[in-house]
Amino acid sequence: MSAPTGIRYQGELHLLQKEIMAKYFAEATAIAQGNGRKAAHLLIAGNPVELLRAFDVLPIYPEVNVLQLAVRKGSLPFIQKAEELGYATDNCAYVKADIGLFHAGYKTPFATIPKPDILVCNYVGCNVYLNWFEHLAELTGAPAMNIDIPFIRTADGEPTADDVIYVVKQLEELIVLLENVTGRSLDWSAFTKIVERSARTGELWAEIKAMTQSRPAPYDAYFDSVTMMAPLYTLRGTEEGLRFFEVAHREMAERVKAGTGPLPEERFRIVIEGPPPWPRLRVFRDMFTRWGAVAVASTYSTVGGLWEFGFRHDPAHPLESIARHMLSYNVCNRTFLQRYEQMERYVDEWHADAVVIHSVKSCRLFSAGQGDMREHFVRDRDVPTLLIESDLEDPRYFSEAQLRNRIDAFFEALEQRRITAGRGAPVPA
């Protein structure tokens, strides 16, 4: 290994992200303090945030709140609080942290989270979402709606016509519910403009994602993508969110032009599958950095939406395009085998040397069966694949020495393979 650790990963874009996210959390706190604006809790996977924005309802994502807790090394007491109340060690720790947070008055070091005026359970792939919001409905007494999104399950890998009709009708019911909660009617022209900004944001994001096909990749498509994902969900459809992506696009394009990557030297290009270990993100990243390994693509960055293969919101058909986003253009609602295909495209079109599967205990949607995924990539595709385990929220499942040993052994073998086979050698930019 040659690349140093102790590297500074954060650049201008990260600072801008911090600034706009601080503003977003200040808005959340102001609602919690009673400024009269409404807040909806909803979930990341294939989120229909455009509709909430159209009613000036602030979207609150419990997943974002609890991952913030984990990044700040504060998730464990909340998880333990939930466990005291009867939640099992084997339950998703995101949910437990959120339940613990509720019982702590929703007070965090970065914001006071407003209680929901409405619970929008966008059931997009994740069955735990249904349990989660059922529990929140019981705790908060807020009006709740399950938006049922049929899984992809047909041979052509597409939703059926009936699926689309069903989801559009449910979105129309959500509009009525939002009208009741906010006391205002939907302004279609404002809504259409929001959808238009989402379309433009998706366009920019897709182009940003394509840039990591360059050598070196201008940013790490796993560890740096998460910086862009928060605004993508919390601020999508707003002017501010769009501006953020314009800045991000400009910055990344300049990096491509200058041949700058996130590390001094890009030695291995990897695809990472699975959510990150938020409680030890920096330590985890360093484990790859020391080998000069850069993620050129990641499945996690597609939980909220999959834009890189062509999907765009459509202001001419706003509800139908939101329905399609929820049904098929996010990794969560697609089949496990469609995820294999997605990763294969990443390996081929983003020119990756290897796949790293980060299996998290909390999220079975992501993890259940990843041994089969490894089997497929190694045996059917001859792609070196590493499977490692920890968790996205619970620091008790992060075994640093064990992970480091596995990762070191993997890259040592990869290096050996490169020497002996001459395969995957860096190509001049």
Partner: protein, 387 residues
Amino acid sequence: MTLTLDPAFPSARYRDVIEDRDFPTVRADRERTGRAAIGCYPVYGPLELAHAAGLLPVGLFGGGNRIEIAHADSRFQSFICSVVKSTMELGFQRKLDPFDALMFESICDPARNLASIMSRNFPEQAVVYVHLPQNMTSPATADYLTAEYRRVLASLSAVTGKTVSDDDLRASLQAYNRMRAALRDLYAFRDERPQDLATGELYTLARLATLMDPLDVTPILHEALDAARARGGRMKDRIRVVLVGSFCEQPPLELIESIEESGCYMVDDDFLLGWRLFRRDVPTDGDPCRALAVAYLDDSVHLSTKHDLRAPRAKAIVDAVREHRADAAICLIAKFCEPGLFDYALYRKAFEAEAIPHLYLEFEEKMWLYEKIRTEVETFVESMLFR
């Protein structure tokens, strides 16, 4: 002699049959009728559609405690429940050869991924995936589920090549209605006279119903009810309990028996719930697919994989305890089962609020030592009887 071991009772004939992963009922059915079979993963699927399409629908509840997992562990992690792994193991050990197709439903995340992984590893079996809706309040849901059932029916027809008429569907609805009615009667009988129908016996019969054509199993269920009625057992000094949490992965029969023999009468449970989900008969007039869809939406019992915001499950369990005049509840939850474990947190809160004593137990289908659970149940029962 305990009731469970009564060799003259009809269930005794099937004790080995329900545990046999060579699926003797399926093989016998094929020999007799020549028809194809479909393995139906729990919790609930529209069995009637498969039946009408000319398939024998068979409950596929993993490997139980008779299959050693040799290969599936490398595909699914240690924190995934046993029934997912052992179902895949059945495939690796060629135990699924009698099946032409497999049916999975949107019950939980591991089951959903399992459907994909099974189709990749065992392409010889058609995988039919049913998305059961989770918005129970939308007026659009009945239309959706009706259309979904029509889509599923087309996939099933493609397996057998049979064109299915509405009359075929009605005949299958009726066959399952009769089977479910027979099970409801047996459950009602046990509630009334638990001393004359042990849960181990009832379970064996219900499990048999997942392995046979409803037309063939219903007479056996009737025979069992008659035999139970003819008994005149004496009520023992036991507490009455409602058991919840075993709706998907199934505990070993010996564990069920151990719990009951440790001092309880189980007067209600959620074993094999998918085969007896409806409160009453599904109407056989009108559009059969719509009738089945509406029954699922509006006429099915509470289920941990069905999220109905109109009716909290914790309240349903509390109501069941009251309705069955139970003294306590036992939560018997499969290890790593997220839907079951999440529900427990709400059940516990409700039990505490309603002052209903409850015992929490975890099991795995592959367990074969029951002493620890037996001791826990005995202690719990004693604390109830001698308080």
